[in-house]
Symmetry: C3
Subunit: 245 residues, 3 copies
């Protein structure tokens, strides 16, 4: 059983955090809310998505799993107004999700969860550096890096966080000191990442005033932020690229 009502813009934002990495996802329903763990087809990035019942106007759910084609949900939500309420109800027998938005009634066929890639195990990593900054600053750095290269170095030097990109002929570097950041746990680290992935992840992250990065030396980066006034938490884990000098 699953039945819930949520603001359209909140559901849109939630789906976007997943659709930047995967086309289909298994939504794990429980009385506590909705959880998704997914990994992109190339095994480079993972996302942990948790939306507690507080994010919903009303929510009731037993343990079950829904398989959804994210682009179909995105299409439906594209017609909705930001302030519309979305009412969802699972029809278990028919294997369909009934969605009501702004007068429209949708009947969405569910995907068989067993045909969707299994949930990845999210590794526990010890990442010594932690940086908290505005998502907009991160987005600006990614955009500047894209003009120069297809990968980007993120790291901590002394008390500063830095982002650097180097192309065949040109280079760009942004250094942010403690007072330009919201917070920093400074430990010298540096890892190189693909801008393809960072550009996608930054889309939902840029809407958050407070994005937390966890960094190591040639280690994956963790990019965490919350949505729905804290009722939802999003965590990305992105594998590093090997730096060739």
């Amino acid at each position: 059983m699953f039945k819930a009502t949520i603001d359209a813009y909140l559901l849109k934002d939630s789906i976007e955090t997943l659709s930047v990495l995967v086309d289909e996802a298994r939504f794990r329903i429980s009385p506590e809310g909705i959880a998704v763990r997914a990994v992109d087809p190339a095994n480079v990035a993972m996302v942990s998505f948790d939306l507690a019942t507080d994010a919903f106007e009303d929510f009731s759910g037993d343990d079950c799993e829904l398989g959804l084609d994210l682009s179909r949900v995105t299409d439906i939500l594209a017609v909705a107004d930001r302030d519309d309420k979305v009412h969802m109800e699972l029809d278990e027998d028919a294997k369909k999700l009934m969605i009501q938005i702004g007068g429209f009634s949708y009947t969405l066929s569910l995907l068989d969860p067993s045909t969707i890639r299994a949930e990845p195990r999210i590794p526990q990593l010890e990442l010594p550096a932690e940086i908290v900054l505005n998502g907009k600053d991160l987005q600006k750095a990614v955009k500047a890096a894209e003009k120069i290269s297809d990968h980007m170095l993120l790291g901590v030097e002394g008390e500063n966080f830095f982002m650097e990109a180097e192309g065949d002929t040109d280079r760009v570097k942004l250094t942010m000191s403690r007072d330009q950041l919201i917070d920093i746990k400074a430990n010298d680290t540096r890892s190189l990442f693909s801008l393809d992935y960072l550009s996608d992840i930054i889309k939902p992250a840029s809407k958050s005033n407070e994005v937390t990065l966890h960094l190591g030396k040639d280690f994956p980066i963790k990019i965490n932020f919350s949505i729905a006034n804290g009722a939802g938490t999003i965590g990305y884990l992105l594998a590093p690229r090997i730096e060739s000098d």
Copy 2:
């Protein structure tokens, strides 16, 4: 003889109601105004266009027929400001239309009307259901349906008007009750239409606060609305598709 002045935005809106169906049209001029009857190349949709002299700042015309390439007129109007006055004058000997807009003088070659498809005979149909609604509501339904399918069912069930689209796996339905409509003459009806055509027709119709639909059982739909504060009337007739169950 034909000589007239009209607001640029009004002429733009008028041309758009035709250009969604045809590339060229015969404009029938008379002392009462301008009339066009046209059918799309695939014989699926017709349009009846009538613009009375009240829509014009000044108008004088004898009975005559002008052949116009609509995309060329649209191109010219694209440069005009909304509030520009458009002055048109027929040069009968040269077979040209002289157009003056915002300082620019255009000389437009007319098409030989005999090379343009003849005016269709608009059939008289008995359509038992009549629905009056805001063009925006119709547009929203068409957009929702486009996400799911390439055709759309329109009909009346009991006291309600409904629009429904069904794709390979998903379905959407919008039901509007009497109090959500401007008016309804309710008679049970349903007909299926191509969204290709509905999407085009809805563009000009969505600008009208009051669009009237006439529906039957597997019959064509009539979509009527007025422009220019009632000085112009537009009527589309769209053939149904066969419903295969």
Copy 3:
């Protein structure tokens, strides 16, 4: 030696006046400012660009020449905010330009000036007619002409400036009298120009309230305007096309 600070929007506007004609340019630095003379690859249009030190917040430069890939500079400036300050400094030994904008540090490899096409000699021409008008009016005329043809006639008839375009079937003409212009030195002239080039040149020119045209009979046109509150001057010279009647 070269070291300078300038508003980002001013540098953007400056680069745009060049990039509409060429991909790479030689920037001639002197204690008086920056000068560029460039000709497009097809030898149809030339640009003279001069930016005096007044345009800069601070400026110090010895005589030297910098080769720059304009698209790379444009990319970098695309990330900057309009109000950002751009600080540039030449690293002569490394043959690099160091650019600082809004916290970002860019290192841009210079092109060897000798690999860039040599500065053209700008011919001295006696052009009898001179028209001063708002760049927006010129832009509107170019846009109207583009809908009809791929070339455009500019000229003076009596006391009026005119712009005319003729396609296979249609024609457009704009006539501006002395009181619609800022100024005119009237002498009967007319020359035909390619709209490909005029469309490009008009992009930066349309931002100027005062564009000066110098015209002759089947002669090149000079299009001059200033930027940076008069601290910069831009002059285009565009070769005529042969009018075939």
